[in-house]
Each structure stands twice: as structure tokens, then as C-alpha cells.
């Protein structure tokens, strides 16, 4: 047993390849047998991943889901931002420059609108829950953008640590909602072409959620959504602690 656990810890990444491969295989079969291909295998695999992350969090009390279980530490590397971004960039190989260019300014508009609307949504929820100070409202609003914008903003405006934790949680919820929800709502919002995928990426902003959600919907759309979403966190970190915070200070 000790040899096994030591071996798996040392060879974490390779073991993660094996486990993910098995998850993909299993979810492919589930997609065909249980849902008659109505829910794509990749969507099932991602949901299995989230469930495993929850279990990992419950068992270890850590913050990195399954990766905190020593056996599965390789998931941290395989699912970390380096591999993710590397793979996301590679999807651009088949993308059309023409589409990217023609969506240009609407993509930009969707980015700013995405940050503003998310912020507003977060602020309204926080307000309804009884928060009245500009710092907390701003931080929770920022968390509603992405789970990176939240703590960056919270630290900048001097919010309390429980509010910062809350803003991270809100951002993680957003990522999960986008991941799971995208394939189900894609048709009703017309998310079936590169143009809309770029707008979607700009409005949602969570790179993890957007890329995972689009992957489960139609892998061809991934590069377009990722292209705009990748600017979102930066713009959020720019606007929330400055302009939007001042706005909040003016109101409250």
C-alpha cells in the first residue's frame, strides 16, 4: 500500500491522464446508454469532475478539490492554469480570423457590459442580504465577475476577510453554473455560432466556466469564447476597485 501511494504521488500527472481517460470513457458510455446522446459525454465528464472535486474538498478540507487527495495530486498540474491555457490557445488553430475581426467591437462591448452587469447583479444580491457599506458591496459585486476579481478588489478596497471569502465563493458558483448550464441554455439564447460564442465569452467572463461550458456544447466554439473571456478578469480587476468602487462610495 505504501509503495502504491508513494508511486502514485511521484507519478501524479501520468496517473491523472489515466484517471481522466477512464472518466471520459465512462461518461461517453453513459451519454449513449442513459441519455441517448442528449447530454454530451464531455458534459457528463465535467459534472463527474465537479462531483469528485466536491468529495475531495469534503474529505481533505482543502481548496483544490480532488487535487488535495495525495493520490490525485496530479490533477492539480493537469487541470492547472498552465495546461489549461496551453490547450485553450491550441484550439485557436482552426479559428477564423475573419469572424474574430467582424465581432471585434461587439466583443469589446460585451466585455464591458459583462463586467458591469455581473457587478450590478452581485451588488443587488449583496444589498438584498443586508450589506450597506461600499467596500462589501463592491467586493461581492467583483466576486460576481470572477473569483479572481473578487479577492483582488476586496484586498484593494480593504474589505473584511469573510466578505472576500464570500466573493470567491460567488465567483466559483458562477464558474460552476456556466460550466453546467451552458449546454442546456445554448439553444435558447442562440449560442450556436462563433459570433455569439465571442459575445458569450465576454458577458460571462469566467474563462474556466466559458471554455468548459462551450466544450460541452460544441468544441468548435471554444476558441471564440475563450478569446474574449481571457480579457474579462483583467478588465474586472481594472474597473471594480477603481471606477465601480468610487461609484459605490458615491451612492452608499
Amino acid at each position: 500500500m505504501e509503495i502504491l501511494s508513494k508511486f502514485l504521488e511521484k507519478n501524479g500527472l501520468v496517473f491523472a491522464f489515466l484517471v481522466v481517460g477512464m472518466i471520459m470513457y465512462g461518461s461517453g458510455i453513459m451519454s449513449i446508454r442513459l441519455t441517448n446522446k442528449k447530454i454530451p459525454g464531455s458534459a457528463i465528464a465535467i459534472i463527474i469532475g465537479l462531483v469528485l472535486a466536491y468529495l475531495g474538498g469534503v474529505f481533505t478540507d482543502g481548496q483544490k478539490g480532488l487535487a488535495d487527495v495525495p493520490f490525485f495530486s496530479g490533477f492539480g498540474l493537469m487541470g492547472g492554469s498552465m495546461f489549461r491555457d496551453f490547450a485553450v490557445v491550441s484550439t485557436a488553430m482552426g479559428a477564423s480570423l475573419l469572424v474574430m475581426r467582424s465581432t471585434g467591437w461587439v466583443g469589446l462591448l460585451s466585455l464591458f457590459l459583462g463586467v458591469l452587469l455581473s457587478f450590478l447583479g452581485g451588488v443587488i444580491v449583496a444589498f438584498l442580504w443586508g450589506y450597506r457599506d461600499a467596500e462589501s458591496l463592491t467586493t461581492i459585486g467583483a466576486g460576481a465577475c470572477t473569483y479572481i476579481v473578487g479577492p483582488v478588489t476586496g484586498a484593494a478596497v480593504g474589505a473584511s476577510s469573510d466578505v472576500i471569502a464570500l466573493s470567491i465563493a460567488a465567483g466559483v458558483v458562477k464558474t460552476i453554473v456556466v460550466t453546467i448550464g451552458t449546454p442546456f441554455v445554448a439553444r435558447s439564447v442562440g449560442l450556436d455560432n462563433p459570433h455569439t460564442a465571442m459575445i458569450f465569452g465576454g458577458l460571462m467572463g469566467t474563462t474556466s466556466g466559458v471554455t468548459a461550458g462551450l466544450a460541452a456544447t460544441d468544441p468548435k466554439l471554444v476558441p471564440y469564447g475563450a478569446l474574449t473571456a481571457t480579457f474579462y478578469t483583467g478588465i474586472g480587476c481594472l474597473l471594480c476597485p477603481s471606477l465601480l468602487y468610487l461609484l459605490m462610495r458615491g451612492i452608499f
Binding site: 491523472a16 481522466v20 465537479l50 485553450v88 458562477k174 458577458l203 474556466s208
Partner: protein
């Protein structure tokens, strides 16, 4: 050779991400601004150029394609490393603060995509 493709991808990644880091610093934000986006644009442009020059052989292309095929498995691994517990256990306010922006965003999509379609139709004369 496969490694040429992987190296090409790595080149785009490094340049793009560095640009994102510097841009972040330039505008005074503690985050990478659009690194992945710059890398993607660079890859699209380089791919276009190399194809025209006929420098791309199928093996080189496979070096990039491999990673784009690995993309969904990587996303599954990423999903498995999210802090789902905190999201589930943080109560209703976190749930709503995460959910409401998504719903608002989804509601705006059809409006914006109509805007984009009419904009792209006007100068080029063809949709999409």
C-alpha cells in the same frame, strides 16, 4: 516534426502570456490581461502565414492538434480541482451572487448577437 508544432504553440503561449502580464502591469492591475487572447491571435496569424509559405507539414500541425484534442480532458481535470465545497457550503448569498449575473448575461446575449450580426452584415455584405 511533432515538436515543431508543440514549440510553435509554446512560442505563441509564452509571447501572448508575457504580453498579458506586461499589459496588466502597465494599466496597474494585479492580473494577466488577455494573455491567452494574444497568444491565440498570434497562433491564428502564424498559422495563416506558415500555411501560405507552405512551411506547415501535417506532423507539425499534429503537434498543435494534439493539445486541442487534449483540451476537454484537461477541462475535466480542471473541474475536478475546483473549490466546489466552498461554493456549495457558502450559503444562499454566494449562490445568488454567482447565479444572478449569469442569468442577466444570458438575457443580454440575443440582443448583442443581433447587434453583431447587423454590424458584420453592413460592411461586408454577407452574414457571418
Amino acid at each position: 516534426m511533432i515538436i515543431y508544432g508543440v514549440a510553435l504553440l509554446a512560442f505563441c503561449y509564452v509571447i501572448g502570456q508575457l504580453l498579458g502580464e506586461y499589459l496588466g502591469q502597465l494599466i496597474g492591475v494585479d492580473a494577466n490581461v488577455g494573455g491567452v487572447g494574444f497568444a491565440m491571435l498570434l497562433l491564428v496569424l502564424l498559422n495563416d502565414w506558415l500555411r501560405k509559405k507552405n512551411y506547415l507539414d501535417p506532423l507539425t500541425e499534429n503537434g498543435v492538434q494534439f493539445w486541442s484534442q487534449m483540451y476537454i480532458p484537461i477541462i475535466v481535470a480542471m473541474a475536478a480541482t475546483q473549490n466546489v465545497k466552498v461554493a456549495v457550503s457558502s450559503g444562499l448569498i454566494a449562490l445568488f451572487a454567482g447565479l444572478v449575473p449569469v442569468v442577466i448575461g444570458l438575457a443580454v446575449i440575443p440582443f448583442l448577437s443581433r447587434l453583431s450580426k447587423s454590424a458584420s452584415r453592413a460592411p461586408h455584405g454577407n452574414p457571418q
